[in-house]
Amino acid sequence: MRALRLLGNLAGRSFRFMRRDKKAAAGAIILFVLLVLTAFPSWFTPHDPAAEIYRPGAALSWSHLLGTTSFGQDVFSQVIAGTRQSVMIALIVGFLCTILSVIIGISAAYMGGFIDDGLSLLTDVVLVIPTFPLIIVIVGYLKSASFWLMVFVLVFTGWSYGARQLRVQALSLRNRDYLLAAKARGESSWYVITVELIPPMTSLIVANFLGAALYAVLASAGLQFVGLGNINTESWGTMLYWAQNNEALQTGLPLWALAPGVAIAILGSGLALLNYAFDEVANPALRPVRATKKRSVA
């Protein structure tokens, strides 16, 4: 019941917040549209994205909104169908990274002592080892990454940034009076962490989710682009791989390569805009100057 009320409260607050903040609203609309495309891709694809039955290398027209590939596939349908994989990877990797960051970052701050030292060192080491080369090396031995292998590798390499930020904020909250009061009441550590410590950090946790999701989208697209993903799946990165291997830019089919790139950029921008807006929630000093004035009058 309590959790439900909290959730409703959060939804109401975020809705009011979107109405006020244009960046957040733009980000939310982008993500909503892409979620609809993810759930019902077949409603929006005029052609079968895999069928190689159209005139190869056609320019854009009403029947082929973005032209066709040199294999005779419809580019527009491929872009729509590719939405699902990028969105799924963003959501799943973002979620798992956030869970891991929360567990590691907050337990480091809450436990303190040598546990904190150990976990912080681990976080910092994972943070500075360059992620993408590491991913390339891991996937390089296996030749190609399936969806779940990609998820695993991205989570394995992507949790540290959030863990570091959450630890710092949890440290600053740890000795606040209300937390000490909860401990003095004899509440369990579990209660103190979940009910007293985590709720004030919600906006930072959400920002971390969005940051990890953005990282997952860009890294997975890069991996597929260089041919280390499964090259037979429908995704934006794979489209770019085929476009690059068939010299789409050089042979007068720029849309084949540019359309999936723009799609990645749209998803990325949606996540980044929301992320930035949440930054402004967590740090009121960053809010646009004019908005602050308006509020002080009201």
């Binding site: 960046k23 080491v125 943070l127 360059p130 390339i136 296996l142 030749k143 540019l258 990645i264």
Partner: protein, 327 residues
């Protein structure tokens, strides 16, 4: 000094972790993939090199995991990474040394320029809060920093290279020209580096602008900035020597922390432009199952990032007296 000693210790631990990961990954893979590679090599290289590769990948060894681990670490420290398959039978270190200057020149210069320009723009944007820079830069660069690096590269190739024909699109220099130390050849190299350099610069600059702007907003509200104004100091002096200097500190740490991301993007930029640097080499090594080269490149890129982080630490120590005195 204690600060720097701690940071140096961290550098060594991170380096050790990277080497250990490198050692463990091939051993954790199902059906050791390096085994097939070794089959192709046997009889073609001298026994000593073969031995080093067997130690690195854990094949055919009669020694325990522990002792081959220490032997592997020892080989790494002596830069003995074995033989490259891509450029057989050159040693890996030789293949890498040919690609290294290209990456240092391209990625090094554009990353540092991006950091400097971004930091300055961010500081000025925050200084004139609500001004033109402050309202235009953040949203524009939030969107651009969400672009995949390689996509911006493709866009540049298509627009500036193919449509307008202003710049060459592939390679580090024109293949038909013999490399020499003449102005013509250096011009040729610069010509080839402009598009990839701008790709890295533009995608990386946004992060520095945003973090510097955010730090600066906090710092500008501090009392000592008000004090500077009250004393009637020139705004330029307050901007750079009072506020800027302090706002730069977190940005330097941020620089160190996000360098890995920039390098990751640079690998793809090199790939898109077929630029003969380390990133392109890494992907070629993967494609050709050149595992020794792959391992060595991963270590080298890690070392490069760690050294850059250490330099950022030294800069922090120079700028911030607090790190020098306490803990």
């Amino acid at each position: 000094m204690r600060f720097l000693a701690r940071r140096l210790g961290f550098l060594l631990i991170a380096l050790w972790a990277a080497m250990t990961v490198n050692f463990l990954i091939p051993r954790l893979m199902p059906g050791n993939p390096a085994e097939a590679m070794m089959g192709r090599l046997r009889g073609h290289i001298n026994p000593a090199s073969l031995k080093a590769l067997e130690v690195a990948f854990g094949i055919n060894t009669h020694q325990s995991l522990i002792s081959s681990y220490f032997q592997y670490l020892n080989n790494c420290v002596h830069l003995n990474f074995g033989i490259s398959l891509l450029d057989f039978p050159e040693p890996v270190s030789h293949v890498i040394s040919q690609a290294l200057p290209w990456s240092l020149g391209l990625v090094g210069v554009s990353t540092i320029l991006g950091f400097l320009i971004g930091t300055m723009l961010g500081a000025v944007a925050a200084w004139r809060r609500g001004g033109a820079l402050d309202s235009v830069l953040p949203p524009v660069f939030i969107v651009i920093s969400a672009f995949p690096y390689f996509f911006l590269g493709l866009l540049f190739i298509w627009f500036f290279g193919l449509t307008l024909g202003w710049f060459p699109i592939l390679g580090g220099y024109t293949e038909t020209v013999t490399p020499s130390l003449t102005f013509g050849f250096i011009g040729n190299i610069l010509d080839h580096s402009i598009l990839p350099a701008f790709t890295i610069l533009i995608t990386s600059i946004g992060g520095w602008i945003l973090t510097m702007r955010n730090n600066m907003i906090t710092v500008v509200a501090e009392d000592y900035v008000k004090m500077g104004r009250a004393k009637g100091l020139k705004p330029r002096r307050i901007l750079w020597q009072y506020a800027g200097r302090n706002a730069l500190l977190p940005n330097l740490t941020g620089f160190a922390m996000s360098l890995g991301f920039v390098i990751s993007g640079a690998i793809l930029v090199e790939y898109v432009f077929n630029y003969p640097g380390l990133g392109f080499l890494l992907l070629q090594a993967v494609e050709n199952e050149d595992y020794p080269l792959m391992q060595a490149l991963f270590l080298l890129i890690t070392v490069a990032v760690l050294v850059a982080i250490f330099i950022a630490d030294i800069a922090t120590a120079l700028l911030d007296p607090r790190t020098r005195t306490t803990s």
